[in-house]
Symmetry: C2
Subunit: 173 residues, 2 copies
DNA sequence: TATCTTTGCAAGTGATTACTCACTTTTTAA
DNA sequence: TTAAAAAGTGAGTAATCACTTGCAAAGATA
């Protein structure tokens, strides 16, 4: 990975996240990265290939974060870890998650690769805690995370600390 | 409002919702509507004007739905009405809401015109019910609605009925 | 019926799109 | 040291973009 290649990925991630993938031309990416437009197509097959590279880079960074949640034993610890995810979105990961959430709406079909493993972890935790419908509870947790992350990425409400508190209280965490 | 004008609005709404506003050209809208491309610019100032017309049309339809929620007296009735909104997205309104939710991510700044009145209604209801932090509870309700609507529009989980049930139980509704 | 307005279409416009190509510069390695 | 490979550039390409224009058909009003 050369220095200019990283510049391209960095600039593209920021622009795609802020303006939208289709709204940003490869010309704009190149100028933001301080690079000739042709170089983008030397390193990536096409514009979509650039997007895929951005996705994979972010996935790899998110992998370790996701993995650490499975390790825990106490089901409440697990739920705490899952629910805390939207409150701890790293400054550096902000653009990545914003792009991912935006892309969901123009994809032809929903990608369950991220949510499916998390749903299972949550369902197991609720089962261990004796909830009557762990499946529905897990689904609700995923929905909550979606809403929380959206608020954090888009609206940035000032009282998120209080929201977190009342939410944790509801689940007795 | 002429017949072809309605065709344009209908086709544009569907395409914008499914593929994204920037990804759909006026040419595609015209062909989907069975109309010459020039006619779009006869009826609407430009592509953005077409989008604004779609927005306003949907707003007018949503107005009555939103208005009926303020009328109720019992705070639990109000919360029931608010929380039930994502579960009752009309088949005809599906494209509209999908477009609205998608557009949020490429707007320069978040539009609070929709959420602000709903937050106040929810906060008042929670206050009347004696909740300790009505503001945080209202924020959480808005976040929940966002997540629920996203699930309904994008993932369409099979166990939404059970999710609704366990959610209403949490709020004792 | 005659005239004016609205509705509609086909064929344009320049600008921008993703992408290619011929070429030079830099890096790698034997 | 030298030759091959990789990195990088800048000027192209055809296609598509949002939008305009000139003119015909249809409706409304008198």
């Amino acid at each position: 990975m050369t220095e200019k290649q990283e510049k391209i990925l960095e600039a593209a991630l920021k622009l795609f996240a802020e303006k939208g993938y289709t709204a940003v031309s490869t010309n704009k990416v190149a100028r933001a990265a301080g690079v000739s437009e042709g170089l983008i197509f030397r390193h990536f097959a096409n514009k979509e290939g650039l997007l895929e590279a951005i996705k994979q880079q972010g996935m790899e960074r998110a992998q370790s974060l996701l993995g650490s949640m499975v390790m825990r034993e106490d089901p409440k610890d697990i739920l705490r870890g899952i629910l805390d995810f939207p409150f701890n979105i790293d400054k550096e990961e902000y653009h990545y998650w914003r792009l991912m959430y935006a892309l969901k709406w123009q994809a032809d079909e929903y990608d369950h690769s991220m949510s499916h493993p998390m749903r299972k972890i949550a369902a197991d935790a609720f089962k261990n805690l004796g909830y009557s419908d762990p499946g529905a509870e897990a689904e609700l947790i995923l929905i909550l995370i979606d809403g929380l992350a959206t608020a954090e990425l888009l609206r940035k409400p000032e009282n998120m600390k209080a929201v977190r508190q009342s939410l944790f209280k509801k689940y007795d965490l």
